[in-house]
């Protein structure tokens, strides 16, 4: 039982997501949530162990936000695969 959390805004949406995340979940940053990567990734640092963070490639590129390890850059095909792999999808916006 793992969950995919999709976040599309920085700040409140990200904070609420983090509170709902369990170990082993995946967090995907899309749209304006990619700006979280510019805040020294502070909020992302408090994720529980075993969580991975993915970033939508086109949204980061569109906004001029650079993505580096350990964050995984993904496209929409991979996004769909993540949805198939996790049994629940929560959206924070």
């Amino acid at each position: 039982m793992s969950t995919l959390h999709i976040v599309n805004k920085p700040r409140q949406a990200m904070e609420l997501c983090i509170r709902a995340v369990a170990s082993g979940d995946t967090v995907l940053l899309i749209e304006d949530a990619v700006y979280e990567l510019m805040s020294s990734a502070q909020r992302l640092n408090v994720l529980p162990g075993g969580c991975s963070v993915c970033v939508m490639d086109m949204d980061a590129k569109a906004r001029g936000v650079e993505v580096s390890a350990p964050f995984e850059v993904i496209d929409y095909n991979r996004f769909v695969s993540l949805c198939v792999d996790d049994d629940k999808i929560l959206s924070w916006f």
């Binding site: 599309n8 929409y76 095909n77 769909v80 949805c83 198939v84 999808i89 959206s91 924070w92 916006f93």
Partner: protein, 130 residues
Amino acid sequence: MKFALAVYGAPANSQAPQSALHFARAVVAQGHEIVRLFFYQDGVNTATAIAQPPQDESNLPSEWQAFIQENQLDAVVCIAAALRRGVVDQAEAGRYNLPGHNLRDCFELSGLGQLLDGALMADRFITFGA
């Protein structure tokens, strides 16, 4: 796998309808099924037939219509949310004596129960929020 998608943002104030369209195309390309599209909150504006963005910008309502028709999808617009925001079909325009109607052909106005139904019948339910 069966997917149901909910879209809550309007083309002019949210990226939600654009992100949802990218996602829906990838779902279909991978051979999965979309059992319901549900447009709610400001997302109902995605179903308008009379938005005319400048030619060098994407026309999301038109792109959604093409995608829905090509894949023969069930696209539901919440009737209460749509009436609040001025998105109506011919029947509702007649019922409320409104001067026009603007719902695109491929969309259907129906109740919020269709959001629940869609989420319950799908294996995966995903929301594109505003």
